[in-house]
């Protein structure tokens, strides 16, 4: 199949987003059997058409999400379908274009916004990325194929975790609650700071600290919040410029290895840091809501109770407000638990997210079945796909 992938830049930026990373791994996994091209969003490619590591990269166009040139690019490629990996509310004209659209769609709240459902009616196939998303879509009458994101083999438990800590200036005896993500209102980072504070108070005999791998000066000014909780000496954060530029993937692996647990308190469409953390043997803590909760397998972390809800976010979705004390008590369980046993369970849980498995078990069969519908060949009463190279 000739597949165009429209998402964040996979290859032209130094620091790919989670979407960019996921799309690049899908490309790597399927490129031997399918011809893949990429149109990066957000004006990332102003260079024109070029090839990078077998990947044909199309111009981004002038519109923020590339809808002004996606039809032209797809026709140039003679694409069978276009796979988008982005929140659906960004699309305003995709539905009207004569393209076979496969949205790989994050669903991060319940109920799903009618605007999302309306867009999905025009899709050729819908791919959901979490059990939560799959069920919510089904409730709204949208059938989807569930394909979770994957994690690269470079994410593994390192033998010398002390070295990882030294790299990030973490003392050997600290218990580190890590957070990895953009500084966005919906990520609820102030609440993460509250949880870090509460865990510290609950465990006066342990040196509990936090590590916010985010830009503390971005959407929510975090420094005043950290100061107001008296946590300025107990929370680490990177230099904003370093965060913006990004660090090599192997250092991200070391960062997760330096954590004692990884936390998320917002509503997520998948929560990539969750599986990256699991793959390094680090347990996770997530709200018992939306897709992050799906990442919490048995014995490899905890789901935190949701106490209330808020709509106070730029896109007006229903978001959980977690119970701070419940989160603090559950992290205390991790402090008092058996780290080796927990790490084993995390590593075991992460196996199901390995890219090789996701590609073989999910993406290739999905694309093959889609191909039969995109290029059907009836031969002696049987339905198969015809090879586009016949033309």
């Amino acid at each position: 199949m000739r597949l165009m992938i429209l998402t964040d830049a996979m290859v032209v930026k130094t620091k790919p987003t989670a979407y960019g990373k996921v799309a690049f791994n899908i490309f790597k996994g399927i490129k031997d059997r399918h011809q893949v091209a990429h149109q990066p969003m957000l004006g990332s490619n102003k260079l024109g058409l070029f090839t990078y590591s077998d990947l044909l990269v199309y111009p981004s166009g002038d519109a923020e999400f590339g809808e002004d040139v996606i039809e032209r690019n797809c026709l140039h490629l003679n694409a069978d379908a276009v796979l988008t990996l982005k929140d659906l509310y960004v699309f305003s004209s995709m539905m009207q274009l004569p393209l076979e659209w496969i949205p790989y769609c994050p669903i991060d709240s319940s109920p799903i916004s009618p605007g999302i459902i309306e867009r999905l009616k025009y899709a050729f196939k819908v791919v959901s990325m979490s059990e939560f998303g799959y069920k919510e879509l089904k409730k709204e009458g949208v059938e989807s194929t569930l394909i979770p994101h994957g994690v690269g083999d470079e994410y593994r438990m390192l033998e010398d975790r002390a070295l990882c800590r030294r790299r990030f200036h973490i003392k050997p005896d600290e218990f580190v609650i890590g957070f990895v993500g953009l500084n966005r209102m919906r990520k609820m980072i102030p609440r993460v700071i509250q949880v870090m504070t509460a865990v510290r108070e609950l465990n006066p005999d342990v040196d509990v600290t936090g590590f916010l791998w985010t830009d503390v000066d971005k959407e929510v000014p975090l420094k005043p919040i950290i100061l107001s909780h008296g946590m300025n000496e107990h929370i680490h954060w990177p230099n904003p410029e370093m965060y913006k530029q990004g660090i090599p993937e192997n250092l991200m692996v070391e960062l997760y290895n330096a954590f004692d647990c990884t936390i998320c308190l917002g509503c997520e469409g998948f929560w990539m840091p969750g599986i990256e953390s699991l793959a390094t043997g680090t347990p996770i803590v997530a709200p018992d809501y939306a897709a992050a909760a799906d990442r919490v397998g048995r014995g490899c972390g905890y789901k935190v109770k949701v106490k209330d809800w808020t709509y106070n976010n730029p896109v007006g979705v229903r978001q959980p407000i977690v119970d701070i004390m419940d989160a603090a008590r559950k992290i205390t369980k991790i402090i008092n638990g058996d780290p080796e046993k927990t790490a084993r369970r995390c590593l075991n849980e992460a196996k199901k997210y390995r890219w090789s498995k996701i590609i073989e078990k999910d993406w290739l069969p999905f694309l093959e079945s889609a191909e039969v519908e995109l290029r059907p060949l009836y031969r002696a009463g049987e339905l198969i796909a015809w090879d586009q190279e016949i033309g």
Partner: protein
């Protein structure tokens, strides 16, 4: 004839009458020793000239015959771009077009000038399509229904059931069906078996439901869009199929009703009149009421039309229709 390869340009696997048609024709042709390549035409979306040019020049495989399933709404004026580029790129490969609608002069002429053969479904269309064309009827799947008692139980229906089947649109005469059942047949259920192409409901369907609530409260059951597997139950539960379309060139939904061997009462528009014997017709509102009364009260009469429907279905089964297509392809090669 030795094995031939055909590329059919059509919407496929979507909620669309042309798609349903192609999904029946293509496997039937493949049983007649043809390899049938489907070139997917997008059902919805604003199609540009570039889209049609790409479709015509880069998406069609090398085959013996290219067969276009044409309907005005699918091309929306793109016939010029599509057919001229198709003719250029195919060279001497024959182009066959099936016109699912006729009588729009400019597109008809473009199609005719660029096709080696044009197929229409009936004599009415042959007359309206002013150029030379072949009549190959729309095929029918002779199909079995779920036994009536079981089907009615499954659907929670009791007593006589009259069904209107197909996409629900403003020209399909739903108003007459609701009015007739509501005002004249208080003990009859009207089963509105169908929906719309992309949505659960349209504004029109919502209005119809309001009308039904006023005129025939509790008498109309709406199924919404149905999967094919549900059809044997729907048809099994139906004592009479009602077809009130005010116009049309051919009707897949009517032929599906015939294929299931149901007794059909249909408005006497030209495409229906050509099927006399396979169904009963009505011309006026009074005819509709009398005809329905007669059919609901007289099982033997219903049986007669059911037999007629079965005979029509056998005579126009997809196998036979595919054979006719193969003969036409053979003449062109």
């Amino acid at each position: 004839m030795s094995k031939i390869s055909v590329a059919i340009v059509t919407p496929i696997f979507c909620r669309c009458g042309i798609s349903t048609y192609s999904e029946a024709l293509a496997p039937a042709l493949s049983q007649q020793d043809a390899d049938v390549y489907i070139v997917r035409l997008k059902r919805l979306g604003q199609k540009s000239i570039q889209y049609f040019e790409t479709l015509a020049t880069r998406r069609i495989p090398k085959v013996d015959i290219v067969h276009i399933q044409h309907e005005y709404g699918l091309y929306r004026g793109g016939e010029g771009a599509f057919y001229s580029r198709l003719r250029q790129s195919l060279g001497s490969t024959p182009i066959v077009t099936t016109m699912h609608g006729v009588a729009s002069p400019i597109p008809d002429e473009i199609v005719f000038n660029n096709s080696d053969a044009v197929i229409v479904h009936n004599e009415f269309c042959r007359e309206r399509f002013i150029h030379d064309c072949e009549v190959i009827p729309h095929g029918v799947h002779p199909s079995e229904t779920v036994p009536m008692k079981e089907a009615k139980e499954k659907l929670g229906l009791d007593g006589p059931v009259v069904t209107v089947f197909g996409f629900i649109g403003p020209y399909k005469g739903y108003e007459e069906a609701i009015r007739t059942i509501g005002l004249e047949f208080p003990d009859v259920t009207l089963l509105a078996a169908g929906g719309w192409h992309v949505d659960l409901e349209t504004t029109y369907i919502q209005r119809l439901k309001m009308v039904a609530d006023q005129i025939a409260p509790g008498q109309v059951k709406w199924t919404g869009w149905m999967d094919r597997e549900e059809l044997p139950t729907i048809f099994g539960a139906s004592d009479v199929m009602l077809y009130c379309n005010r116009y049309g060139t051919e009707s897949g939904s009517l032929l599906t009703s015939i294929g299931y061997g149901r007794c059909v009462l249909a408005r006497a528009i030209p495409l229906v009149r050509e099927k006399e014997g396979a169904l009963k017709t009505f011309k006026t509102d009074a005819d509709l009421i009398l005809g329905l009364e007669e059919l609901l009260q007289n099982p033997e009469l219903r049986h007669k039309y059911e037999e007629g429907a079965r005979k029509y279905a056998e005579a126009n089964s997809w196998d036979r229709i595919a054979e006719k297509h193969m003969n036409l392809y053979g003449e062109l090669l």
